[in-house]
Amino acid sequence: MRAARVFRWIMRIFILLLTLSLSVVTILGGLSAVNILSDSNNIQVPPSGYSISYNVTGAPNTWYINIPIGINNVGYFDLNNLEIEFILEMTYDGSSTVIIYSGSQNFGNIESGNSGIFEYNATSFTVPAFSTLNSILANITVYGYYSLDLIQFEIHVVDFGIYP
């Protein structure tokens, strides 16, 4: 056999192994997404046994909102670099709305088969002068990676009622 053919076969086997590995990662990644999303208990705001705690009365520098978020990783890969973005919108004096808090926090990883409760603690609000507080809604986004960091996911919780 010519040397060129030997080199070609080695490269072909290498490419085949790469393609097969990627295919396995893709298939398991898809199955992981279905496994996690097929049960509503896998993503909970707040998780069972936990509750949202807050203080939105008195001076703004005493305000805080603590919101627990539970994620159960029933997928085949670790969920990596979990970051939670938290935006709070306040409606006051009838219909005026303003964003009083915007921030994010990194909560690290959840290994495959494990679950995690992440408590987002929001402080330092920018609150306008108001006479009536109507509502506080939260937009929560959880960012993360799985399938060897090849697939990125975003979980958007929109207009989640915090107060009243």
């Binding site: 070609r8 393609t19 999303l37 399938s147 090849l150 958007h156 929109v158």
Partner: protein
């Protein structure tokens, strides 16, 4: 291998590539379109589906056509090398079409809660990396088939 056998081989591989690049992806996206997880519908708009389907069929047909010419060409011939290279380049465009047709951003709406987005661009880029290696080996093949044309022909005649 004689010409009729090469033609049959070409048709067989054209069929295989048609199934891999057109039938399986269309069935998968058709399935995703109708899929609902715990009653939550996966959002894939009619327009989005049509754009994805168009590019899958367009590039799938080109790949299948090239596969016919690649696999019906004589072993280690320059023709085979040229068509194999064209085929892998179109394969790259086919992979890239998944990105620009919006098939790499999968959004799942969860009514009363929000939505979940899965972004698979990085995965597509890794596949593109593997295709780059394949392009390299196909170029190597083409150079080898051209430079060693005489040796390959002599070996082919000896086989006959």
């Amino acid at each position: 291998m004689g010409a009729p056998k090469n033609m049959i081989k070409g048709f067989i591989f054209m069929g295989i590539y048609t199934v891999i690049t057109i039938v399986v992806p269309l069935l998968t996206f058709g399935y995703i379109r109708q899929l609902s997880i715990e009653g939550y519908a996966i959002q894939l708009t009619q327009q989005g589906y049509e754009i994805i389907s168009f590019w899958i069929v367009a590039f799938g047909l080109l790949i299948s056509g090239c596969a016919f010419f690649t696999y019906s060409s004589p072993k280690q011939s320059i023709r085979k090398g040229v068509f194999a290279l064209i085929q892998v380049l179109i394969n790259c465009l086919y992979m890239w079409s998944y990105k620009f047709s919006g098939a790499t951003d999968i959004q799942i709406d969860i009514s009363g809660f929000g939505f979940v987005v899965l972004l698979v661009q990085d995965l597509v880029l890794v596949y593109m990396g593997v295709y780059f290696l394949t392009i390299a080996i196909k170029i190597y093949d083409l150079v080898d088939f051209t430079v060693n044309r005489k040796t390959i022909r002599e070996a082919r005649w000896e086989d006959k």
